[in-house]
Symmetry: C2
Subunit: 444 residues, 2 copies
């Protein structure tokens, strides 16, 4: 894996830091533990992640390993502590390979990083990996790790997962400890797993969720019994702005789910359109507040990339009354989502992850059916509702679109429903595996 | 009691609504229950508040009885439900006498109400009762109820209690249910009891606290065992701006406590001075947000009194970043308070309640030792820290000052420490009862 990183990272720019020495140390120790005859089985085999090479988004604290947050400001920052999630991974036997590229301070969805360079999409090096956990998704797609941990405030796990053809789970609020992870927007941020298959994401989730921490090892949560799932398809919002190739890709996903015996119900969720504005108000204000409290903004405004600086300035203009109003709307939206789900007896919503496949680098706007949209707004659009509601959502690949790029769809569940989403996604994946990988040896 | 209200309310203007018919009905039923031979004792005697006439601040919902919030906007508002606290009082046998005058929407500390007229201080009708629960405090001092329920966002129970010579307990955050009480600032508001003696306040608190609701009757919380109390006297902030008569009155309280065997320790609590600004930012923003969400502001701006309208306008100018910054400061202040208390092993802080005795009606500023201060800022000054920290605080009278007006001091405890504060206040009261009452028959 380290050799592969050495070979491909110059093309992809997905690792900001690799931990070669400690990774080899951890791998050697893992191997020795399994080979040792002297100890009891429980001490030899540390579980599902024993010896598995994992990467971490570079906003997750790693003791003794620099954690830049993708920023110039923290370029030299070396934390004293591991984030809780890193401690959990290590306890489960994982080998930490390195820290992945990301959008500066996780405040954007393209991972075009002005300080470390853009992460490239392995399916087409001229295209973005998505963000903000772009390095993680691209590293997975390129085979440069077996799992990764990202963060998601408005889609930052699911967007790059969809654009790079990997699986990304945004857990529900409170399901994974977020201590010692550089915050973007404290009431929206969550930490979650990404991998090449649903099963790997499930293994990671069980290792890092809060129950795992409490139970000392992997979570004892049980997946729901095999049954006939009912999925809700929202009438509003999700299908209003979609590129044709994503539309076709989503229809494929629905056909596969249908063959699996899933039933569908149309559901109505009012206020979906209003979540965009409310999400912006909350994220802008909380991000600027954090950067101000940290003493970075406005004092070190010149050290930010242009796009992040502009967003931090927008945060200063949100009024407290609008911020509190966004929370009132958030509460009403959660209630309407809960009512829609309860009333229809559905297990989850099924919607696309992004309205477009991976855009080209520096492509600030995309035209869909004659109308020009901001790339950033498009990529966030279908993701933010789950952040505002605090519910889990998983992005799953569903084949390649006409342009040969991956498409993805999203399952959005109820609080605490991660294992149910994972079970449904697993069935989908068995019926419709991606069965393709980017050919990086011809890419240049 | 109803006759006394009829006689004195025209002078004092402390009741906005009296419930004569239902009060007599409840009293008759209470009497009958005690006299009835047929039933078991438990069904006859409903406990400590059986038949006791209680008043309620007019921002507390009463089913079928108008609840104006002291406002023109809600002049005709008749709730369908009782607030939880009212249900608890009724279950404990209380007779609800009526609804008391208050500062408009609880957004001020003088109870000079532009729509219903000012509440007058029974000790000097030319002076304010304080606020925002001014009607409750003045009604108690004048003997127009035996207990009252007020609300406290920045001192609204303790300020009028101190200015009128009665006892007022601001419970800790979460100790008393605040549902169906018109909000002022949702993260600072608490509901609490007021009465003429500490023992009566304790009876009321036991009847309305959340444990009482859960246990069906009065709380089973036990007062702490008799022991030697240690009180903290803060080095910072509390004694910087005090009128001479309040200084003397506070020294008297300290002497009495000293004779009771209380020990004192000087404690240092950083950030106290910063709580004023943080408290304002939070209260202004949350108040305006609520009035905006309710559709009152700015649509019906003309129906507010001048002072409240100006404050609601100030709320629109608070930025979200400053609001969130105030919460960061709030968290740091709570930590510094906890550290100071833990490090010194103290039971509570002892400080004055207000830097001045009751000012005259319309006296917008007060001069202390040559410096002019806003009356509003002075009255809030020593109270707000307990709201920001969410901890309980009780104001207890300590005799009359040189000008013949009541003085009061405050005990500020730790979360969940209401009964400890009440026990200490009870000992003080036994040693130093007020032993005086306003003579309302000579007042004009």
């Amino acid at each position: 894996m380290l050799n592969r990183i050495q070979e491909l990272n110059p093309k992809l720019n997905v690792y900001l830091t690799t931990c070669e020495e400690t990774a080899i140390g951890q791998a050697t120790e893992a191997e020795r533990a399994l080979c040792s005859r002297a100890r009891s089985k429980s001490r030899r085999d540390r579980g599902t992640l024993h010896g598995i090479p994992i990467s971490l988004k570079d906003n997750i604290y790693t003791a003794g390993v620099r954690t830049t947050g993708g920023s110039k400001i923290l370029r030299e920052f070396v934390p004293l502590d591991d984030a809780q999630v890193v401690a959990s991974l290590k306890r489960a036997g994982a080998v930490i390979l390195g820290k992945t590229n990301m959008h500066e301070f996780a405040y954007g969805v393209t991972t075009e990083n002005p300080h470390f360079g853009a992460a490239h999409n392995p399916w087409d090096l001229e295209r973005i990996a998505g963000g903000s956990s772009g390095g993680s998704a691209a590293a997975l797609a390129a085979g440069l790790c077996y799992g990764s941990i990202g963060t998601d405030t408005g889609g930052s796990i699911r967007i790059p997962a969809a654009l790079c053809g990997v699986v990304g789970l945004k857990p529900g609020m409170g399901s994974v400890d977020a201590q010692h992870v550089i915050p973007l927007s404290k009431t929206l941020d969550v930490v979650g797993p990404m991998a090449r298959t649903v099963e790997d994401v499930a293994l990671l989730f069980r290792a890092i969720c809060v129950e795992a921490k409490n139970e000392g090892q992997s979570s004892s949560r049980r997946p729901p019994r095999a049954r006939r799932f009912i999925l809700g398809i929202p009438k509003e919002f999700y299908f209003h702005v979609l590129s044709q190739e994503v539309e076709l890709s989503f229809q494929t996903a629905i056909r596969v789910l249908n063959k699996l015996g899933v039933r569908f119900k149309e559901v109505s969720i009012p206020l979906l359109a209003e979540t965009e504005e409310a999400g912006n108000q909350i994220a802008w204000a909380e991000a600027t507040s954090h950067h101000q409290q940290a003493g970075w903004f406005p004092q070190r405004a010149g050290e930010y990339g242009e796009d992040v600086r502009v967003r931090l300035e927008m945060g200063t203009k949100v009024s407290a009354v609008d911020y509190l109003g966004a929370f009132e709307l958030r509460a009403k939206f959660i209630a309407s989502l809960r009512d829609a789900v309860l009333a229809s007896g559905i297990d989850a919503l099924v919607v696309p992850t992004t309205p477009i496949v991976a855009p080209r680098l520096a492509e600030d706007s995309v035209t869909i059916k004659g109308t020009k949209h901001s790339t950033r707004a498009l990529l966030l659009r279908l993701n933010r509702p789950a952040n505002l509601a605090g519910v889990p959502a998983i992005s799953v690949p569903c084949g390649l679109t006409g342009s040969g790029l991956p498409g993805g769809f999203q399952l959005v569940g109820g609080l605490g429903g991660e294992l149910q989403l994972l079970e449904l996604a697993r069935r989908f994946e068995q019926a419709c595996p991606l069965n393709a990988q980017p050919n990086l040896y011809f890419a240049d």
